[in-house]
Amino acid sequence: MKLNVLWMYHDVMDLYGDRGNIQVLKKRCMDRNIEIEIDTCGIGESKHIGDYDLLFIGGGADREQGLLFDDLVSRKQDIIDAIDAKTFVLLICGGYQFFGQYYIDNSDNKIEGLGIFNYYTTSDSSVGRCIGNIEIEATLDGKTVNIVGFENHGGQTRGVEHPLGKVVHGHGNEYQGGYEGFYNGQVLGTYMHGPLLPKNPEVADFIISKALAKRHGEVQLAELDDTLENRAHEVMQKRMAGA
């Protein structure tokens, strides 16, 4: 069994330790003897996204995100085809915003998004920056999962039809917005970093299963020793609860 991952704009979109997510996916596959290959795709590189089981895009700085935008737009059809072919997509921060209608950056530049989904992101600095530790209650294909992380974004994302989860502590898509992220069964977008996956092994395994499903159907993942991960999760949960 093999998992093929495409990490797009790895060299530009890695502002908040996003590589940590890749490291977690890699180790959790290797520990189960699942072969995993991480391929990267920079600006101008020719890659066929549909060839991969998982597409990952992280967040970057405004200036750098601006530089890769033309490249991303040129891949729109390829991305849509890949999603149709059941490639799973994980998007963090900037990557998440890109898939919406548009986003307005810190300097009030309006940048057209891929327009794959209806949500859009405005820069409403009067509202306030969403920053700090965050905890959400998510429903992943029917299963309730508690997720902890850190959020740090000025952009207010609105019009999200399928949020990833309900905010327990923190802001989410909008300042004190109550809901966080986006998930429609095939694409998972979120502002949660920290990075997302190390303290949320359940989410990591969910993503691995979804990606494997493309070519291998339903796969039962072997149990791993998650003592450290669970303790890390618990410590943050307790802190946010003020206990």
């Binding site: 530009v12 908040y16 700085a61 920053i131």
Partner: protein, 437 residues
């Protein structure tokens, strides 16, 4: 009149605070509150040198302070790193006489990057020394791009001397935007530590002028190195001072046929020193004075601070990926078996966002000679996971208390190192002192 009353109140409050054993920047805060214009009303020394940048500010400021003492009789400096506007105000106001004259012939001020605009607006700075801009505390400072943007805007009308690291593209761009300033570049030659490729360069990939990808002849550390834009030539600058013959084993380097001793055997220390030499040259301070200063310079403040708890322990402060990488490279130059305590906090001054640990190269520690890694601090588990997912297979210990981490360390007998973020440094120092033999 108002200025004098303010000054009186500042002096009284400073006196009262000193009775309480407090001080720091609070008198500055009081002064600015009473009279928001107070810093525009006092008369300053002729020479004011401002030091800013991400890493090495405190060290460089202290070196510049000592250098200026070789030229001027009465130099004032915020040596303890109170580098926000209130700290600068406290420094000047406590040295201001009732005739509103600052009693000094030179001031050396360390200024936090985001406070540079506030300080330049009020204080007649004559020289600015900038060494580097790295990612640092994203939650507080925002993206590095916006930090550099703010500094660059503040320097647009600056008319005096700008001493810049020619090997940091984020610093070099200031020369483009500071049209009124006299720019002096310093740099460091290729040496045995330099690399053709870098996996640490997260900033400065694209040309500031034309967005073309920058090309590096060599990297020193992080994105510091000899770069140029193949499209527009950005980065091709004459160097006013260039360090050559860098030898980290002997901790020496050469500038204009003079051999200098580096205070530490690390490239960032060579850059700090070379910036200092550029300043000395510009101010006609004999190189012999700088040689002397660098030979005897020691700053014991979480920078290779040493303790004896039955065996030697080195304590180091880390606050961002580049700083952490340099500390880890230093530790790993020790070929013996070692135990490392890492204390990660996420208080405001540490940065509440700890995702930076995933940008730092903790893979450097993954080595068969790294026998134990003990993680402590408010984010001990985040640190432990960082190491686990990096593939560290030595003994990974999490200690929920700071005391406990040193207790664990005392059970072992390898070479010992402690690295701590800002708010943990003070506590770790106290604990180590308590355990000293």
């Amino acid at each position: 009149m108002r200025a004098r009353i303010t000054l009186c109140v500042v002096k009284i409050s400073r006196f009262l605070l000193s009775l309480l054993g407090r001080g720091g920047s609070l008198p500055g805060q009081i002064g600015l509150k009473l009279d928001g214009q107070i810093l525009q009303k006092i008369k300053y020394p002729k020479e004011i040198i401002l030091v800013t940048g991400t890493n090495g500010k405190t060290t460089t400021t202290n070196m510049v302070y000592r250098l200026m003492q070789k030229k001027y009789k009465h130099v004032i400096c915020n040596v303890r790193g109170d580098n926000l506007l209130v700290g600068i105000a406290a420094l000047f106001l406590r040295n201001t006489k009732m005739k509103l004259q600052v009693d000094a012939d030179c001031a050396v001020i360390e200024v936090d990057e985001l406070n540079v605009p506030h300080v330049l607006k009020r204080v007649p700075v004559t020289k600015v020394l900038i060494n580097n801009f790295f990612r640092d505390q994203l939650d507080r400072a925002g993206e590095m791009e916006s930090v550099v943007g703010k500094v660059s805007k503040a320097l647009e009308d600056f008319q005096c001397a700008l001493i810049l690291n020619a090997d940091d593209p984020n610093v070099v761009r200031l020369a483009d935007t500071s049209k009124q300033a006299h720019v002096y570049f310093f740099g460091v030659d290729k040496n045995s530590e330099s690399k053709e490729i870098s996996n640490e360069a997260s900033e400065g990939k694209f040309c500031f002028r034309c967005n073309h990808q920058l090309e590096y002849a060599y990297y020193q550390y992080s994105h510091i190195g000899h770069f140029a834009c193949p499209n527009c030539g950005f980065g091709n600058n004459d160097r006013y001072v260039q360090a050559s013959d860098v030898n980290l084993d002997t901790q020496s380097f050469v500038v204009e046929n003079t051999t200098f001793h580096a205070p530490q055997d690390a490239l960032y220390a060579i850059y700090n020193a070379t910036g200092l030499i550029a300043l000395a040259k510009l101010m006609d301070i004999p190189f012999a004075n700088v040689q002397d200063l660098l030979k005897n310079f020691e700053l014991k403040d979480g920078r290779m601070e040493s303790f004896n708890i039955g065996r030697n322990v080195l304590l180091n402060l880390v606050k961002n990926p580049t700083g952490a990488n340099e500390v880890m490279k230093y530790i790993m130059r020790d070929p013996e078996d070692k135990d490392i305590v890492i204390v990660l906090n996420d208080n405001d001054q540490d940065g509440t966002d700890v995702s930076w640990i995933w940008d730092a190269h903790f893979d450097l520690l993954v080595d068969t000679h790294t026998k134990h890694i003990i993680c402590a601090g408010k984010r001990a588990y985040d640190m432990a996971l960082r190491l686990k997912y990096e593939g560290y297979i030595g003994n990974l210990i999490v200690s929920e208390s700071l005391e406990g981490s040193i207790d664990e360390l005392k059970k072992l007998d390898d070479h010992a190192y402690v690295i701590a973020t800002y708010t943990a440094l003070q506590s770790m120092r106290k604990i180590l002192r308590r355990n000293e033999k």
